[in-house]
């Protein structure tokens, strides 16, 4: 019985990790237009997230957690906006390297992964309720 209950915690850890991933996506989309304020200053740089598995010694299970938050090192976009406070001498402003399409796809993926974990919890719960119905 312990094995099957551990499945809840494993799926829960997965949901949490995917939730964090969704948060990073939200942060990227929200900052898609965050430029610098002075000429030459850097705009918002796209953030990334990596997962890893760590052993939960107390429960003896390998849970998924966030390994690190990183930054995307791809070059910034350049837009011609001479009136902008952050425009350089040629009138170009650096814009964040956030690609809305990429973020949307990432968001969908995180959502589906989250759903898969919810599904596991559903199945596990029905298995446990079957066991309990043996008592009837």
């Amino acid at each position: 019985m312990t094995g099957i209950v551990d499945a809840y915690y494993l799926a829960g850890a997965g949901m949490r990790a995917q939730g964090d991933r969704l948060r990073v996506v939200a942060e990227n989309i929200a900052n898609a237009d965050s430029t610098g304020l002075t000429p030459g200053s850097e705009p918002y740089r796209r953030k990334t997230i990596t997962f890893k598995n760590v052993l939960d010694r107390e429960m003896g299970i390998e849970k998924v957690t966030v390994s690190s938050y990183g930054v995307d090192s791809t070059p910034f976009q350049k837009k011609y906006m001479p009136g902008h406070p952050a425009a350089d001498a040629q009138g170009y402003v650096l814009y964040p390297n956030v690609e809305p399409v990429v973020e949307m796809v990432d968001m969908q993926e995180a959502q589906r992964a989250y759903e898969a974990n919810v599904n596991v919890i559903d199945v596990t719960r029905s298995m446990i309720s079957q066991t309990l119905s043996l008592l009837k």
């Binding site: 094995g3 099957i4 551990d6 499945a7 494993l10 990790a17 974990n117 596991v120 199945v123 043996l134």
Partner: protein, 137 residues
């Protein structure tokens, strides 16, 4: 203790523990599908010979006082988990846990579990019937 080394309810109990343990392993695979270089695992198929051997050749510690408890090996230690070969694919992050494949296994496992619990219930109802009680649905 019945004359048989392993009765049907006993076997079903082993099967149910196996399915429970497998559910845990599959949950871990699904939770880890975006972990870089994660290797999907699965339990070795349940083998009647090994189960019987583990049940009949069980060695436990000697009891020197009435207040001691017998320390047996839990069922779950009989199930070995191995890294799955021949998975559907390796995902771009390098994990071999493919969600479709794992969900398929989860569904299969849940069906197996339903089979075991239904059989268990049937056996219980047989006893109830013999005692002249109303069998449960």
């Amino acid at each position: 203790m019945s004359a048989m080394p392993l009765s049907l309810p006993d076997m079903l109990t082993v099967k149910m523990s196996y399915d429970g343990e497998r559910q845990k392993v599959l949950a871990q695979n699904i939770a880890s599908m975006d972990t870089p270089d994660y290797k999907a695992v699965d339990l070795m198929p349940l083998d009647f010979k090994n189960v019987l051997a583990a049940k009949t050749q069980q060695v436990s510690m000697a009891i020197t006082s009435d207040q001691h408890m017998v320390g047996g090996r839990p069922y779950t230690q009989m199930f070995r988990s191995v890294v799955s070969r021949n998975t559907f694919e390796r995902t771009p992050v390098g994990s071999t846990s493919v969600v479709e494949e794992q969900m398929m296994k989860v569904a299969e496992n849940a069906t197996d579990y339903t089979l075991s619990t239904s059989l268990y219930k049937k056996i219980g109802n047989l006893f109830k019937e013999a005692m002249g009680l109303q069998p449960s649905a």
